[in-house]
Assembly symmetry: C2
């Protein structure tokens, strides 16, 4: 059952086996010991970490050693602005915000509108505008204004270009082909693009004229880029970027069918701009249930939280471990019905989205404080 | 004898057969009829045209038709700033200046420092500085300040990037490979670069928001780029750029051995910054002679101007047709000795370089009037 899945920067499909991903990508597991070291610095742990939703890493231990030695890291993450932001996109940003809050550090946030133009049937002007639309969602997450630097590749290319050239010069087509699967029919823009995506791994060091450790919270499907960045880092005299990888928020209809949420399929996702009614309707209608066919059977046999999408989503959005445990037990015992667990999720999401949407509205007034432009 | 030569954007070697080039590149010959049409607009013809030093073109007739219809063209040419400027580089700029003077038109001059960084063992900062050093030579040629726009790719990439992405999206690796001979070991920067070099073919149209015909005076070794630009032009809704191609100024030791002048081999070229003494010494010592071994034999048998480098150079630098004819005849008859024709060239070049060097010095004060930056 757990054999057929695909995870690449452009595609996530099937029921993802995260242990297998760690083996295949050659990353490290986030261990309790590592979390203990992190907790020594932060005092507590985000529920994404407590629950191993962030399950894999590269060099997180090294970041902690650097912290022990008094050297601060910067954060880097990004977004391909191909359309509206949904909750699956927000997950790594929530993780990133926690790191920023705990370590009061700079965040570099890259909007890869160039990439989206190169691979989608969309006009350049549209993806570029989407960078700014999506930036409102980034800001709404609550990042620190003076330490958060959001930029569209298209509008910040002059600053990035020199480093992109340096990375590109050290990367042969053969290497890029092996990492990204380019073919003869790939366009020459997307072949160059990985050099642009690696730039923020090194840009802080260049701008501050000292070697700065970088931590990238991201989904594991982006690992290819950081692998390339790590290969090139040494040749350019920079630190290799460290990463921490999260699980995908399942699509509403479950991971088996559709992999991660996809903004191109309305029924798989909740957008940050959805109304409370839309959220309720989508969850009620589409969310894959681990419950039984009838209330009677459910009371008797209980539900299966491990495949129940509302429960899975609550592991991302219900911060209280005890509450979550109770939901798990009650659902499994049959005390909690499918309609009830769905309504719990609806309330949780609508509460989250109410705050998000208010902050997103306010973000329109302050967006220029966050955006970098050449 | 005329079979072994190579002409690519990166290499020109051997004794170039220009008629064969026209066939191989699929360009058109510059005919007397075409020159007549041009002369109707300009009143006279530059000696590079009268002597068919500019021998090949694409769509020059179309440019003239556009002129007949009252539509003005812009000029585009450029330079790969890998080192000092020599007289071989100046030749296309002299041709370009003539077109600018005659048609009072805009010139876009691209310094491809990004390309030079990607293919040479030079630091990025050095090639970027060379762009500005070389720009002094461009300005010294005498282009119009308000209508001449010189830019380093690195410093003007923000303006160029959007168009480069549009070109890149329409160009597969397969196409680029066929045109430029890329291999698996080509770096991913140089694979993208052709998209950047084609940008100025379309940039004036974008900036002026109307379709503007472009004429590119350049050596034929750059044709690959314009072929690619012409393929993409229609897909993007722009005119195809027209071109006029010049012969190479032979290296001092002749085309047979070394092809065009190369700044990396001192003995093949005269730099724009050479002193009169250096010029005299190089010509006397290195310039390949079509003369006889002794004065006595030369007086008796005469010299061969067709292989004599000083004579070949005079076809580029002696504007007066009657003087040139007399030099040809006298050299052939033996009336003019090797030492004498060499001194004629030395005087001609030193006169040219004296003016050039004075203008180059003055250019330092006005360079910012010419340079575009993002």
């Amino acid at each position: 059952m757990k054999e057929d899945f695909i995870v690449t920067p452009w595609e996530v499909k099937g029921d993802v086996d995260y242990n297998k991903l760690i083996r295949e990508f050659g990353t490290e597991e986030v261990t309790d010991k590592l979390l203990e070291r992190l907790k020594n610095h932060t005092g507590d742990l985000h529920h994404f970490l407590r629950r191993k939703i962030y399950f894999s890493h590269r060099d997180l231990g090294w970041i902690l050693t650097k912290l022990d030695q008094g050297e601060k890291f910067h954060l880097y993450t990004g977004r391909g602005p191909s359309g509206k932001v949904h909750l699956g996109h927000i997950v790594p940003w929530l993780m990133t915000k926690w790191f920023q809050d705990k370590f009061d550090t700079h965040l570099w946030f890259q909007m890869t509108d160039d990439e989206k133009f190169l691979i989608k049937e969309k006009p350049l002007e549209e993806v570029n505008e989407t960078s700014y639309e999506n930036a409102l969602d980034v800001i709404a997450v609550g990042f620190k204004p003076k330490k958060t630097h959001i930029f569209s590749d298209i509008d910040y290319i002059k600053t990035q270009y020199k480093l992109a050239l340096k990375v590109a010069k050290k990367t042969t087509f053969s290497t890029a082909k092996a990492i990204f699967g380019f073919t003869d029919s790939s366009n020459i823009g997307i072949i160059f693009f990985p050099a642009v995506q690696t730039v923020p791994c090194f840009l802080p060091s260049e701008l501050y004229e000292k070697n700065i450790p970088i931590l990238i919270p991201a989904s594991i499907d982006q690992d290819n880029y950081w692998r390339m960045a790590r290969d090139v880092a040494e040749k350019l005299g920079y630190y290799k970027p460290a990463q921490i990888h999260g699980r995908f928020l399942p699509g509403l209809q479950g991971m088996q069918d559709e992999g991660k949420m996809s903004s191109s399929v309305e029924s798989t996702c909740i957008f940050t701009t959805d109304t409370p009614e839309e959220v309720e309707k989508k969850i009620m209608k589409y969310a894959f249930s681990g419950g039984q066919a009838t209330v009677e059977e459910h009371r008797k046999l209980g539900g299966n939280p491990d495949i129940d999408v509302p429960y899975q989503w609550l592991t991302f959005f219900e911060e209280d471990d005890r509450k979550l445990k109770k939901i798990y037990d009650d659902y499994k015992s049959g005390a909690l019905l499918t309609g009830e667990i769905k309504m719990m999720l609806v309330e949780k999401l609508n509460h989250f989205l109410k705050g998000h949407q208010e902050r997103r509205e306010k973000a329109k007034d302050v967006i220029e404080d966050f955006m970098l432009r050449d």
